[in-house]
């Protein structure tokens, strides 16, 4: 008995699973419309995920476009049809990171720290992203996935291809760093 398969079926509506599997099978045979349908069903989620990394509409759209072309080329390497969405999102994330790695990092971290300090007195004028820029890339990433996109630990683990335990510990560390970057004295208004 395939317990794993049963679990997946129980976790999703049966109709959804069947349609997902059907469309992925079609896409594997080169059916472009089937692939497009799969992506369009989750278009906002793909776009948001790309936007989290690229931070502008055009780049986010370009990344989703590059992703669909990669999926078309590599969909036959996907073994479990029901994993299509996490698999494709991993590809999207890797493409975004690859694209960003090709760009010059332009804002010296020290400059941002100084700016952040200068704005401490006018807390809400400072966007959270400015503080995030002072963190390491993997900490920035996990905060954006967890809190901006509201992704659960399991989905983050699947998309980033890291163990669940690492997701939890990385989120904790990242949050500590973020609190520290913002200046602890400004953190808890209720406590003051």
């Amino acid at each position: 008995m395939n317990l794993l398969g049963l679990q997946i079926l129980l976790g999703m509506k049966r109709g959804e699973t069947v349609e997902l599997k059907y469309l992925v099978k079609k896409a594997k045979k080169g059916d472009k419309e089937a692939l497009l349908k799969l992506i369009l069903q989750e278009r906002d989620n793909y776009y948001r995920l790309a936007y989290v990394y690229m931070k502008n509409q055009q780049d986010a759209e370009d990344m989703v476009q590059e992703m669909i072309l990669s999926l078309y080329d590599s969909i036959n390497s996907l073994r479990k049809e029901e994993s299509f969405y996490s698999w494709s999102k991993t590809i999207l994330v890797n493409q975004c990171k690859g694209s960003l790695a090709g760009k010059t990092r332009v804002i010296p971290v020290e400059a941002i720290r100084e700016e952040a300090v200068a704005f401490n007195g006018e807390e809400d004028r400072m966007d959270l992203d400015h503080y995030l820029e002072t963190l390491k890339a993997n900490h920035r990433e996990i905060i954006r996935l967890r809190y901006y996109l509201d992704m659960d630990y399991k989905s983050i683990s699947e998309v980033l291809e890291i163990p669940l335990g690492t997701v939890k510990s990385r989120i904790n560390t990242a949050m500590e760093k973020l609190r520290s970057a913002m200046g602890e004295e400004n953190l808890d208004e209720q406590a003051r």
Binding site: R48, E61, N76, A101, G102, V106, I107, D124, Y148
Partner: protein, 431 residues
Amino acid sequence: MNRLDRMLEEKRREFNNLQAPDSLEEKLRAALQEKKPRRKLPLNRIAAMLLIGAILTYNSSTLAYYGKQLVGYDTVMDGTLLQLSRMGEGQIIDKNHLFSDGLEVQLDVAMLDGNGLVFFYTIEDTTKSKDINDVHVQVLPDIPFMNAGSSGAGEIMEEDHMQKWVFTTDEPPPFFIRTVTLELSHMKEDGSAEYGEISFRLDRNKAVGETVRMNINREVELAGRTMTIEDISMSPISTVVKGEIQDLISLGIDRARNEYRMPHNMEMSLYADGIEIERKGAGMSTDMKGTRFDVRFDALPKDTKDLRLELDSVSVHERLDMELEIAEGETLEVRGNEIFINSIEESDGRTYITITTEQGTRIPEVRLNADGNYHQLLETSESTYEKKQDEAILNTRTLEFDGSGEDMKLSVTDIRYTKDYNLTVYEESIK
């Protein structure tokens, strides 16, 4: 709720409200349409040797007539297929599948040659009660060891409650394949799907004529590299030019360096005795062999004597990392492409830079470096086009950046452009 929680909640709401732009669907569809259909999996050496046998098999195929003309497809077929069918070429299949709602798919004829396999099929509403315009049956060839793409065209014949289709694969089935299956999926009126299939035995003796392949091996410089136009394959159904854009090693080096230079469209013209042959399509694919392209044309007229192939232009997408000082009235050069700066204006802390380039040149990833601070591109205004005396079309648009400063540079990390060649790459007199 502390300040951090509040800010995170604000971000969550902001992203939750973020919706994919309406343009995304069209963009994805267009990208997929341009995409070359996948190729079959690389075969091992033995299979490769067998493939050589396959080519010999095609060349030894004899012309065959089935003594019955294909009727009803005249408006769906292009000139060459129409002529072939009138000559009685092809293999009669005459098999059908009836769906439970009375819809019938009839596979009439298959035509095989060295460049592909063509199917002629009819979809008929035997109940004559449906709107034939809304009937949708997807037909996909399921051929072992073959993952080539396919394309088709159909015509609706309302009075006859029929659709007539002609459908072509981009490659012929491997020579050892005897049975070909068409997988059918029909979306019924109640929204449920029903599947079926039609299988037939491929009769290679009924393959349509010979396929002649001629080497070109012409190297052309493309974005700092060499692209090779390898050969031209002429069959009774189509003419296909193939070549290599980038080999696997060079592709690997580029990936390692995080560089990206890839053509996304190629324009070629083929002339037979001075008359241009209709271009049917082009595609590119990257696999274990590297990045390859093919450009497909209609078949050559029967008595063609002189053949000429011209490379017109190649559109390239390139990732780079350049910073360019800008001033009004100056022309920047990026990878041989001119970007003229018409004006630089500032308003409400934003900078508006109006640029003119040739129509095919785009810089989708550009930022403004103002006094060392980088500002994102917020928007590109609507474009205006102007035709020059030499027929080139110029495109003017305004880039809006979120910031301004004294010392300004444009940081360009991505460019898409079209390189014109207008070069004769192959000329041959066929005896």
